[in-house]
């Protein structure tokens, strides 16, 4: 009944502030010096305080490691360091030009304070199904780069989340960066978040899409939703089905129904299973309608 976890306080945490990725990885390599990676702390501090996860003995601050702070173009991809903040994402001309739904999603996270502290790696590694950046990352078919003193490892974003609050990261690894294919010409993205209020809202359902409609035919359509399953998910089956279909009332209707049928959401404090299922179909319809509205048919 009485939370025993509160007996330890934040001051009891031994926190390291490594200046380079190499020294951070060295600390992570040894079990004795390893600590919980700490970026903006906007997820961790809430969870520590509420006892959701125990306050650790050690933490490694990754927020100011230079290698984790960059946003740059690399040919047809954009590289985003793990410690890039939501505020940087929403303001970066590169992100806004090439990954517009990621920029839009970042702009809906928390309020300014949270956007200034919270990071992309934190949002991803916290692995909440309600992480607002997840759908926009998923629709790029990009990868995440993980590193340890042993070397680097590239994981597909679509394979990163392995379950509710779980990611494919080894204890000694840190997230270094995200490698995200740019939005191609004549492709468009959409983002929409449904929350209980207009700001400072954890999503009930949210999602992103990327695609192209040309000559009245859906040439490509990638869509991912969050808060409707244990992890944010891509709707691969729907994508396959719809590719090559004419954009029509019937297609929209069926896409809506198929999308809803693909998921089996839960009822929780934020919403009901029935509403989530239904509105997921509506969001997919809305994304297709947006795409059609912007494509030159």
């Amino acid at each position: 009944m009485n939370p025993v976890s509160t007996l330890k306080t934040f001051e009891d945490i031994d926190c390291e502030f490594p200046k380079s990725l190499q020294s951070a990885l060295e600390l992570m390599a040894d079990e004795k010096t390893r600590g919980q990676p700490l970026a903006g702390g906007t997820d961790l501090m809430v969870q520590w305080e509420s006892g959701v996860i125990p306050i650790p003995d050690r933490a490694i601050s990754v927020k100011n490691i230079p290698e984790l702070r960059e946003i740059r173009e690399n040919g047809s991809n954009v590289i985003i360091g793990g410690s890039v903040t939501h505020m940087e994402l929403r303001q970066s001309p590169i992100v806004r030009r090439w990954l517009p739904s990621l920029a839009e999603a970042a702009a809906t996270i928390g309020g300014f304070q949270i956007q200034i502290m919270g990071t992309i790696a934190g949002n991803v590694a916290n692995a909440s199904p309600a992480a607002d950046l997840a759908p926009s990352l998923l629709i790029t078919d990009g990868t995440v780069l993980l590193a340890s003193v042993e070397g680097e490892r590239e994981v597909k974003l679509t394979e990163l989340w392995t379950g509710y609050r779980k990611i494919d990261r080894r204890p000694e690894e840190l997230i270094v960066s995200f490698n995200l294919p740019k939005l191609l010409d004549d492709y468009f993205e959409s983002w929409r978040k449904l929350g209980p209020r207009k700001a400072q809202a954890i999503s009930k359902v949210m999602g992103s899409s990327r695609g192209r409609i040309s000559n009245g035919v859906v040439e490509s359509f990638k869509v991912a939703l969050g808060s409707v399953a244990p992890t944010a998910i891509r709707f691969f089956e729907l994508e396959q089905w719809i590719t090559g279909k004419p954009y029509s009332k019937e297609t929209l209707q069926e896409a809506e129904q198929r999308s809803a049928a693909l998921i089996n959401p839960i009822s929780d404090i934020r919403s009901t299973a029935e509403y989530r299922k239904w509105v997921s179909g509506k969001l997919v319809r809305c994304f297709l309608e947006n795409l059609a509205g912007r494509s030159n048919k």
């Binding site: 009944m1 009485n2 939370p3 025993v4 509160t6 007996l7 306080t9 809430v46 509420s50 449904l194 209980p196 209020r197 207009k198 700001a199 400072q200 809202a201 954890i202 129904q257 809803a260 404090i269 934020r270 919403s271 009901t272 029935e274 509403y275 239904w278 509105v279 179909g281 509506k282 969001l283 319809r285 809305c286």
Partner: protein, 776 residues
Amino acid sequence: MNMAATTEVRERVKLVGLGVPRLDADEKVRGKAEYADDLNIPGAWHGFVVRSPIPHGRIISLTLDPGYDWTKVVVVTPEDIPGNNIVDMMGRDMPFIAHDEIRYLGEPIALVAAPTRKLARESAAHIHADIEELPPLLSLGELVDQYKKDRSSLHELSAQTIRKGDIDRALREADIVIEGEYRAGHQEQLYIEPQGMAAIPGEDGSIFIHGSMQCPYYINPELCETLDLPAEKIRVKQSAVGGAFGGKEEFPTLLAGYCALLAIKCKRPVKIIFDRHQDILYSTKRHPVWTRYRTGLKKDGTINGMKVDFLLDGGAYTTLSPVVMYRGILHSAMGYRCDNVFVDGHVYRTNTFPNGAFRGFGAPQAIWGLESHIDDLAKACGMAPHEFRLKNALKEGDTTPTGGVLRYSVGSQDVLAKTIEKSRFGEKLQNGSRGNPHEKKWYGIGMSFFAHGAGFTGDGEARIKAKVALDLEQNEEGRPVVNVRVSSTEMGQGTFTILPQIVADALSIDLDYVRCPYPDTLYVPDSGPTVASRTAMVVGNTVHGAAKKMKVQLEEYVSNEIMNAGDVYLADGQFRGPYETGRISFHEAGMRYLENNGPMRVYNQFSLPDYIHWNQKTFEGDAYPAYSWGCNVAEVEIDPLTLELNVLKVTATYDIGKVLNPVLAMGQIQGGLVQALGYAVMEKIEIVDGKFDASRMQTYVIPTTLDIPEFDLDFVEFPYEFANPGAKGVGEIPMDGLAPAIANAVEQAAGVRLRELPMIPENLFAALHETETYKI
């Protein structure tokens, strides 16, 4: 004699009616105000409440872990209570510390205090209760089901009826009978400052309670029996309060009791400061409500009779629930002409935290159902919502459901007419989408009209007889000041500004000569609790009377001791005699008085007009000395794709009597409307496994600035003639009418009526999918 004959006397501008800045603004903006957790109490230990982990059961034994070092902490169990283990509120059914039956999850089973908060919490984890579990009753839903089936199985905490006319005949003779049921869940006050209290034991066995509270004089009598102390030995002082909304009306007695019991045992000060999570889990909320209406109508829209069931979920103990229910039933058929009204009010026990006071105190719960129902009535006889209300609204000379006569100060017709006109209600009503599948956005407009009884319900004011004092004293700088001595509290609403405005006007002096010190029962008489929108009207009137008395005494003093003249009068801050002999300022006369006589204290006491009659048994007569009136129009937009509800605009007019300070009054209206918006469309908290689910700000969702609609707000002034300067009360009425106005707008927009708060998309989804026309 230094007569200020030469100084130019400017004509004084009246302060009542002006938007003078809050007198407490400076200390709050500069961070100087001391809230409960800021109080520097040397040697204070931290208290912590050990609570039941289950909602219903019987304690078999309580064990202190024998392996734990108990020498560093103090534990209080029922055996340590000096007096009776009873919280002496309206019912005497609640123990301070449970000793036998556990009636809600979180009920105290022991108290601990330790030098640090950490140690207090740690030691609490080493106290174990062996509890035999009993089946709990946890929700309003279960309560209502049971009420409909067989109410004898429910534990009734309180009941009251209103009987006017002959309801059976009225329904029999009606052309149309319309029924409707409405519900709403808990609402959390979510004041900025969580609950906090300290108890400091005195050498002489007395106890000093200092902390965050609305009603200092609730605490002394309610603790006497438990602490086995006479009231004089319990001193209570209010610290700065960061919002209360009713949440600090009766609950602080519990916290004060826990602190006092611990302080007595460990012989040192003890404080308990809740964090937000504890505060939401273990403090009072608005009572969940269920109402059922059966109304008989004539074809022309006349209301023949109204039969109402009004049921509140009281939580585990009686506390203040009876009065909340009284106010609820008194507002459940109020506002419209009707000769036959039957209301049955009930409060039943559930195994949840006792529900309590929250802005509106039963009225918002009642008006939510009533004003939704009124739209259904209008529809049933083919009238527009505003036409039906204009036809039936009470006006001067009409009688209320309890047979009270609306004698004067009745702004009902004006608030209606003005709001309807300003919002262009009739015209915009035509634009309602009514769930049209071809529209990209659904638009709807809806209204509500309501009264709010000003002051205590029933015989409350007659019993309390608010007492106030004014002290003419020297302040620290040696200036003469008038200290307003009332137990009324400032909690952000502006009391400590409007009372000085009234006093300054009555004495015709500048505002910086008048102050409201924090109430301390050592110095202030009992002007009653700061609740029921009563302070501006009742206490305002009583300090006004006190100031008039002080004026007479000062005039006599100046006449006899300074001017040696007959009639001396004080005006524009100057005493003047009958001849042009000169003038003397308030400042100077005050100084002279203080030097020669010491401080001056005048008392005054509130009394109701003779013609106010009330029968507390039968609920007949004048339920309130006066009513404030309001009308709300809400315009909404719904996205048919997601069913997200956007409240676009609220147009509202209020008659709160004389508007003492338009800036503060408008602040009350705006803030109250935002709180009402939260109640209407987003605030949701439920009991899961016996425990409140949305127990953090992360999950308990209140409106942000972005959620606030456009406001078009106005007052019409119908001063309350009996009580100078004529205020009727503004604190609660903004909470009353927004939810039904929005529900009525949603009905116009989506074509379905929502009968449960909050009106979240999930509920609209469920309601729409029950209809024929709307399918997935």
